[in-house]
């Protein structure tokens, strides 16, 4: 059902504003509504002190994450926490960490480390770049100061491609005073570069320029100090790179201390984040000269408890509650019995119903299980699911929503055991091939339908499930109409359609001699009369009498929709067969490798385990999605509009820390 909501207003003295919001945030009870003419200055909204501080802490955490990778220090996570890895800490403890931690100092320390590391990396990169640049010129014996030539002689270092070398050589040779020496050569697959030094008398400088113009050759200036040769400078640079490398690692080791700060910083980050959430929540409230007022929705069942708790925590608070008025759109919280609650996970995928609508979860739950089990139809797989999910629930730390899903799949596994037993699906093993004995006899007795040899019977079962669920949709809609006092709609829109479909089905069955074969004609007349009632009543919303009749006649098209909705359930047969046949193939492959000498049984076991796990995974996923779809597309729209606002109380959406309340 949908939990009834009450509107609550709480007023406290202004000095208690943050304490009240924190109290509410920790308990996650009040779905805040925006109070008209809420205050909050414009500057408040752009940059809060929390934004800046959050960015600083974020920076520090990113630095630590980077250091962790470089130091190969990955945090260890116990297997219990695979599904919920974050620590669960209450708000008070987070605030305590924030108060204890001197965030600006810590961030400053980390920032300094980061700057030094960045500088070292940059210096190392510079040195390495220069080294790479000098590499081809290693054979050059000149000092840096000798590169400029003399008053009479021009000296150039030149890079030219192998392809253009001869062209450049000839062009330079045009100058009588020129000389050229190849210093080195770097070859690539297609081409290569030649490194040359050349001299020419300055009077013939123009000829050298012409050589540059004719080719793509480039003059090079080496980053060389005046008193060093290339080899000397390269050696010095190599030494520098090594020194920087050592320094970097020393610094990295020193930064290891920062790793210990990680959790504190994470707590501080979330504490700041929650402060920001509270500030935003505060804006939804109203700040009066002496008091602070918040308004929100609360599940009615918790009203007494919360009022008592607020009064105790804030003796000077004033509280007022009021039931939802017409025209208001309270948030929607689904509340169901322990057995039905897990199925809310399915409803939540569709979205929440409106506050005034019906919670479809209880009506849907059994149909979902039936559809899921038909789409999987293997008792062995169902049993494996039950064991695995029981273990997951027992041994892993799971959030409330996750726990719902685990329990839902556990039920689905149980239903699959039943459906599998009825169709003789046990890991795809053909029951007839089992050794004779009581087990085989028992399993064969349980088996009612063989999906592979008589798929048509299973198809009929799928259609039957569809027909029952679609009729149930009208029953639910009738209930909704009755609840709203719309008796006319209940009788003519819901009741008349149910009798229509039932009569048509009975008439068809009777005309085929399946049942009530003596009453075929009577049933046909009854169906026609029912159709007449539908034609007469379904157009009643129109004013024009012609339209009334036309609309009524057109409504009979509903029978076609009913048929096509029913056909949609045939997917259950296809999915069920898919599981069975793939399981069969896995067993076949296992049998094929089992005959390999010595290691055959290992291979067979691997093939069987991997194959069946894969098959279970892929088909359980398909079964879930398609059973869900049948609810969302075929069932819900008959009586549900959806689009309700989910109940989202002011709470904590942490980045690094979970709320312990999410685990109870």
């Amino acid at each position: 059902m949908i939990a009834p909501m009450v509107k609550v207003q709480i007023a406290v003295p202004r000095r208690d504003q943050d304490t009240l919001l924190r109290w509410l945030q920790d308990r996650e009870v009040l779905h805040l509504t925006e109070l008209a003419a809420s205050t909050g200055s414009a500057t408040d909204q752009v940059v809060t002190p929390f934004n800046v501080e959050l960015a600083h802490v974020q920076f520090a955490l990113e630095f630590i994450a980077r250091i962790r990778i470089e130091l190969h220090e990955q945090p260890r996570r116990s297997w219990r926490n695979i599904f919920a890895g974050r620590p669960a800490v209450d708000l008070e403890a987070l605030e305590a960490v924030l108060a204890r931690l001197n965030v600006p100092t810590q961030v400053q320390t980390i920032r300094e480390m980061n700057d030094r590391l960045t500088d070292l990396v940059a210096a190392k990169r510079d040195a390495a770049d220069t080294l790479a640049q000098l590499q081809p010129w290693r054979e050059l014996t000149l000092h840096g100061s000798e590169m400029e030539g003399t008053a009479a002689v021009r000296h150039e270092l030149v890079c030219v491609s192998v392809a253009e070398l001869e062209l450049f050589r000839t062009a330079v040779a045009a100058a009588r005073t020129s000389a050229m020496e190849e210093i080195g050569r770097v070859m690539t697959k297609k081409n290569g570069t030649v490194y040359i030094q050349t001299v020419v008398h300055r009077s013939e400088s123009a000829l050298l320029d012409a050589a540059f113009a004719q080719t793509q050759a480039e003059a090079v200036k080496l980053p060389l100090p005046p008193d060093r040769t290339v080899t000397e400078h390269a050696a010095a640079l190599e030494h520098t790179v090594q020194r920087l490398e050592t320094e970097y690692h020393q610094l990295l080791e020193a930064a290891r201390a920062a790793l210990a700060m990680e959790q504190d910083l994470q707590f501080a980050y979330d504490a700041l984040l929650h402060r920001q959430e509270r500030r935003q929540a505060g804006r939804a409230g109203k700040v009066l000269p002496f008091s602070f007022l918040v308004e929100g929705w609360l599940p009615e069942e918790r009203r007494e408890h919360i009022i008592a708790a607020v009064t105790e925590a804030f003796p000077s608070a004033a509280i007022e509650t009021a039931p939802a008025k017409a025209g208001e759109d309270p948030p929607v919280l689904l509340r169901n019995s322990r057995l039905v609650t897990p199925f809310e996970a399915v409803t939540n995928i569709f979205g929440k119903p409106r506050y005034t609508e019906i919670d479809p979860t209880p009506a849907m739950s059994l149909f979902f299980l039936a559809a899921f089990s038909m789409a999987l139809t293997d008792a062995g797989y169902g049993a494996v699911m039950m064991v695995a999910l029981w273990a997951a629930g027992r041994f892993f730390r799971l959030k409330r929503e996750m726990r719902k899903m685990v329990r839902l799949l556990f039920y689905a596994g149980a239903a699959t055991v039943v459906a599998g037993a009825l169709t003789g699906g046990w890991f795809g093993i053909s029951l007839e091939t089992l050794p004779a004995g009581p087990i085989r006899d028992a399993l064969l007795t349980l088996k009612l339908i063989d999906p592979v040899s008589s798929p048509m019977s299973l198809l009929l079962v799928a259609f039957a499930l569809g027909i029952i669920q679609l009729l149930a949709a009208w029953v639910v809609r009738g209930y909704a109409h009755a609840r709203a006092g719309d008796w006319l709609a209940m009788v003519f829109d819901d009741g008349a359609w149910i009798t229509m479909v039932v009569l048509v089905l009975l008439w068809q069955a009777s005309s085929r001699g399946l049942l009530l074969s003596a009453y075929t004609q009577l049933l046909a007349y009854a169906a026609l009369a029912n159709a007449g009632i539908l034609v007469a009543t379904q157009g009643r919303s129109y004013k024009n009498p012609l339209l009334k009749l036309g609309g009524g006649a057109l409504s009979l098209y509903g029978l076609v929709s009913f048929l096509s909705d029913t056909l949609s359930y045939s997917r259950l047969l296809a999915l069920g067969l898919a599981t069975g046949v793939i399981a069969l193939v896995v067993n076949l492959l296992g049998g094929m490798v089992a005959v390999v000498p010595y290691v055959g049984w290992i291979l067979a076991a691997t093939v069987l385990v991997v194959g069946h796990v894969f098959n279970l995974g892929i088909n359980a996923l398909g079964a879930f999605i398609h059973s869900g779809r049948l609810q969302f597309v075929e069932f819900f729209p008959k009586f549900l509009e959806g689009g309700g606002v989910p109940y989202r109380p002011l709470g904590r959406v942490g980045k690094y820390v979970d709320n312990p309340a999410e685990f109870d």
């Binding site: 296809a574 067969l577 046949v581 999605i625 398609h626």
Partner: protein, 159 residues
């Protein structure tokens, strides 16, 4: 009659190959979109993996149909069925529904899944809705598979 068997085998091949190609293309489209989201936020890998895997099911349906045909023909053990040319064509025709519906639905489902990956990126809480949207495209592949199974079964070759 060896020609009959050959044509029937072509049927099995058509089912597996068309559906497989569809899945390859569909998964490719979804995976590209997923890679973009994972690049931004590696924690969303689980959610986008589900969407990426969805267009893969058509390949399995085609595979399944091929296996059912092979089984009917007695290729997976037992005695080889005696298939006339006419029966061979019948098997080939029966394989078309699954092959053709799967290749198109997988490609198009890949597109829907890629769009649904956006939901995971922007509104992770609503990612279940994206899965359902993508699954709606798959309906017709499932129906194609169903028709093929019923047709092959109806031919009664194995019996």
């Amino acid at each position: 009659m060896p020609y009959g068997l050959l044509i029937a085998l072509a049927g099995a091949a058509v089912a597996a190959v068309l559906a497989g190609v569809g899945s390859i293309l569909g998964v490719r489209t979804a995976a590209q979109a997923s890679a973009g989201v994972v690049a931004e936020d590696p924690d969303k890998f689980g959610k986008v993996l589900l969407l990426t895997a969805l267009p893969g099911s058509q390949g399995i349906y085609g595979f399944l149909a091929a296996i059912i045909i092979a089984n009917t023909l007695g290729l997976l053990g037992g005695t080889l069925a005696d298939v006339s040319v006419a029966q061979g064509w019948q098997v080939l025709a029966s394989a078309l529904p699954v092959g053709i519906t799967c290749i198109f639905s997988a490609i198009q489902q890949g597109r829907v899944a890629a769009a649904a990956v956006d939901i995971v990126a922007k509104k992770p809480d609503a990612s279940g809705k994206g899965v359902i949207l993508a699954a709606i495209v798959e309906t017709y592949a499932v129906l194609g598979l169903l028709v093929t199974i019923l047709l092959v079964n109806g031919l009664g070759l194995g019996a």
